[in-house]
């Protein structure tokens, strides 16, 4: 536990010093929120709904930070540490790979959490966005989205051959998920055929789940996506730990 906390503190400091994630996981979602806030204000989402457009899209902005950390930050930092032989230095110490991965994993959970809190505060104060569902179901759906997305990233970082291939895989996962999952462009405005294709992204399902939970809509028809996301989280983190390579 002492080891875990000391490593977490150190790695978090290094990560913040790097600034990339502060920009892409915390500032960027806030910028998107503010732009949408000025465009839509407190307008309802569509004719006849009692929730506002911003309330409907807040979950998508949470997903921007989850995607940035999980599909860019996490795989790249693990791959970079391997390539720079930082992991090799850890290999000749008593640390277990699981703890090392857990530290890096938790850093990106923290980024996503800070982003979530910032988004809720700003949107709540400026445009009266408030939770219409229960905290438990919203927090649960957020956590599930975080776990499934981050574990995909951890697996990529764990098994990619080098930084270059990790960044190619990260781009292939990150940009389509960021643009088409509904994180930046609203899912609702896309043509039906595109909607069908992008439903396979776990992030898309996560956003839809978070949205329903936030708006207090029924989440009953999400049983299958929830099970799939859980399975993805378990399988990917299992693979990441099992096939972890120091070098």
């Amino acid at each position: 536990m002492k080891t875990f906390c000391a490593l977490l503190k150190n790695e978090l400091k290094l990560n913040i010093r790097n600034m990339n994630m502060v920009i892409f996981a915390i500032i960027l979602p806030l910028v998107v929120l503010v732009i949408l806030g000025f465009l839509y204000g407190t307008n309802p989402a569509a004719g006849g709904t009692d929730y506002t457009f911003l309330e409907q899209s807040i979950s998508a902005q949470c997903a921007i930070s989850i995607c940035a950390g999980g599909l860019m930050g996490l795989p790249l930092v693990v791959a970079e540490y391997r390539e720079r032989k930082v992991l090799k230095r850890f290999q000749v110490t008593p640390i277990s790979p699981g703890i090392l991965l857990a530290v890096e994993f938790l850093i990106y959970v923290l980024y996503a959490l800070v982003s979530l809190i910032a988004l809720l505060l700003v949107s709540g104060l400026a445009w009266d966005v408030h939770l219409r569902g229960t905290w438990v179901s919203f927090a649960g759906s957020w956590l599930l989205t975080v776990l499934s997305t981050l574990s995909i990233g951890m697996m990529v970082g764990g098994i990619a051959k080098n930084t270059k291939s990790a960044s190619v895989i990260a781009c292939v996962l990150y940009f389509p998920m960021l643009i088409f999952s509904g994180a930046t462009l609203p899912f609702e405005v896309m043509p039906e055929i595109v909607q069908k294709v992008i439903r396979v992204f776990p992030v898309t399902q996560g956003i839809q789940l978070m949205k329903s939970a936030f708006l207090g809509l029924s989440v009953e028809h999400f049983t299958l996506p929830i099970l799939v996301m859980l399975a993805v989280a378990l399988a990917c983190s299992g693979i990441a730990v099992k096939y972890f390579k120091w070098e």
Binding site: K2, N18, T93, I95
Partner: protein
Amino acid sequence: MEEVVKVESLTKAYGALPAIDHVSLSVKRGTAFGLLGANGAGKSTTIECILGTKRADSGNVSVLTLDPRKDRRRLFQKVGVQFQECDYQPEIKVSELCEETACLYKSPVDWRELCEQFGIGDKTGSPVKSLSDGERQRLFIVLALIPKPQVVFLDELTTGLDARARRGVWKILKELKDGGLTIFLTSHFMDEVEALCDEICILQKGRAVFYGTVAQAKEKSGCENFEDAYLKLSGEGIE
């Protein structure tokens, strides 16, 4: 006396290219062992196979009676390592690298004291990348000593250090050795080997061509000077 490092018939090839060929050696507690040879003779591969960071094709290795691959987490509580290729997170500071290393062990020594001893006590707030080559080399020796190890592996011990700093490092290592530390090192400096090592092994193309003390090496080669002896025994001498 107790054998701390025991290697029997270690063999490893990279593809068809043999890197080390049936190397056997043993290092007793509280002694210093030097592994010598030209670049590419197999020194680093031998160290990596002993530490388990590379898998040997055949042969047996035990360090402190443990198997480095199977008992990795237990073994490295008691073993310090300085690799030839030093590696650290891009933005990390000296103090952070030391803290991060110290937190991995059950009973680490005070790293600030070690930094003072090695003459980098005033650098702890600096980024590691801003250190000079010599300072960074000393930092990595400090990192290898933080675990309060029973045995320490030092690959290319004092490369990049000036003459005074090298003497300083030798002095500290000798004191630690007198206190019971076992040292396994590789070096290209024969004065260093002569000053520190109780036993040496010279590798040539992955084979051990000499194994014994410095005095025996001089005797066998018929040279007064140890560097001459080394060159003759390792087959590097130009006749």
